[in-house]
Symmetry: C2
Subunit: 244 residues, 2 copies
DNA sequence: TGACGGATTTCTGTATACAGAATATCCAAT
DNA sequence: ATTGGATATTCTGTATACAGAAATCCGTCA
């Protein structure tokens, strides 16, 4: 495993703290005492502080005027707006890819991912959810970079890190979302249409499709938001959502 | 002036370092030694480090694999993409404001700003540039918040902080940009059309107008990018642009 | 019984010290 | 003269110490 274990303390802190927050370990709005946290994570305050800065820039924490941090809370509109914005930015990536022409290698890679998704969902009775989650994330990752713009890719990734805005956020809600399998099939159809539009240089169509694709996530969120609260342990970030 | 002087060390470091970088004091790609910088800024390494983290998340610095930071460099495409993306996000703010209906108070405030811009540019022989810069920034600030979405506003502000992506980035290039006064008038016309579309609930029109409005900045950038390099001292961030 | 004020305690913000890694320097050998 | 290697130096990452501010708690007074 080479140097995979040479993980820096701030990465350790960032991963650990983000996980704790996303899993809802602290209530939304809870203050985060630095000393206690640093002891729990087994690191000193300095790298923990850096991690908190990073999570603040991600929008998971907010500084309090009197000093210190607390975990941010999100209402239903925040989630929907973040999903909408992801659709807009991914739509821009798709449009620019169509207008400018996408890197053939990346297009091939994207098509390859879609083929693998086809396989994962081929048997309606035993869909490979784990594979789907990973492949879906990979597809959106490639899509964000398809315009060949570091700026676009960076911001798309950034927005995907907002709570529940990720393309994979709701893929663990199988038993709550009605016709979940059908929803996956539909999403896959949109994936293919987006790629087709890009390779046909149909910028406006590619953009509209990517936006509409993100709307699927809003639909799923609508089902999950008032489902069994125990789901919050499996859907990272769901615990941070407060009623609006 | 109350507590305006109670500025924290990390704010001091952030402002100072950002200013130095934007003014091109270090060449693009230069490494930033922490000890020397901390001495120059008159602070210790800890808050300086926080400031560097923040500037990294803003995209002005990038971490080097071997440790430490260097100032990022931007090619022409990066700048154009950042401007395009600002247009897209501001366009989304405008569209959502139109679709959802904007807060009347904010609309009034925006119109008030436009009235003041009218006054600032009323005399073609002596346009009040300083006033225009401030008012223009204010208008775009209000526009970003007009959809009533904290997520949208936050991301719009964030993108405006990217080098040369700000709505006011090129407003100091009077003597380089041809027909600069005409350009200001045209921009003001677009401002008014955007507000009109929003209050008419014309979402698609509002979005298209805001996007096109951002294109003015790309036009101005095209003039400035190969103008007298001495301009770089007056246009913050221009010094970070490298030939593509 | 409630509220106000002071003291205590906790917490954050900042500075500094230390260790390990990365980089530069210098000398020798080909 | 150039290249390789070993040493020395600089720099970063991390931990910890300290001071000042914020919050809490308790006692006293109305």
């Amino acid at each position: 495993m080479g140097d995979a274990d040479r993980i820096s303390q701030v990465q350790k802190a960032t991963l650990g703290l983000r996980g704790m927050i996303m899993s809802g370990e602290f209530g939304a709005g809870a203050r985060l005492p630095e000393v206690a946290l640093s002891e729990r994570l087994g690191i000193s305050r300095t790298p923990l502080r850096q991690a908190m800065d990073r999570l603040e820039s991600e929008g998971l924490l907010e500084r309090m005027p009197s000093g210190g941090c607390r975990v941010a809370s999100f209402d239903l509109d925040d989630i929907n707006d973040a999903i909408e914005l992801r659709g807009v930015v991914e739509g821009t990536a798709a449009r620019l890819a169509a207008e400018r022409g996408a890197d053939p290698e990346l297009m091939t890679a994207a098509e390859q991912v879609l083929n693998e998704i086809d396989i994962a969902v081929s048997d309606p009775d035993s869909v490979d959810f784990d594979a789907y989650v990973g492949l879906n994330a990979r597809f959106h990752e490639i899509l964000a970079g398809l315009a060949g713009s570091a700026v676009i890719r960076r911001e798309a990734e950034r927005i995907s890190n907002l709570p529940l805005a990720s393309p994979s956020a709701f893929l663990r809600g199988q038993e709550v979302i009605p016709d979940f399998n059908a929803s996956l099939i539909r999403a896959q159809g949109q994936h293919k249409a987006i790629l087709e539009a890009i390779s046909n240089r149909e910028g406006a169509r590619a953009e509209a499709l990517a936006r509409e694709h993100a709307r699927l996530a809003r639909l799923n969120f609508a089902f999950l938001k008032d489902a069994d609260p125990r789901l919050a342990t499996r859907i990272p970030g769901l615990a941070l959502v407060t009623a609006s």
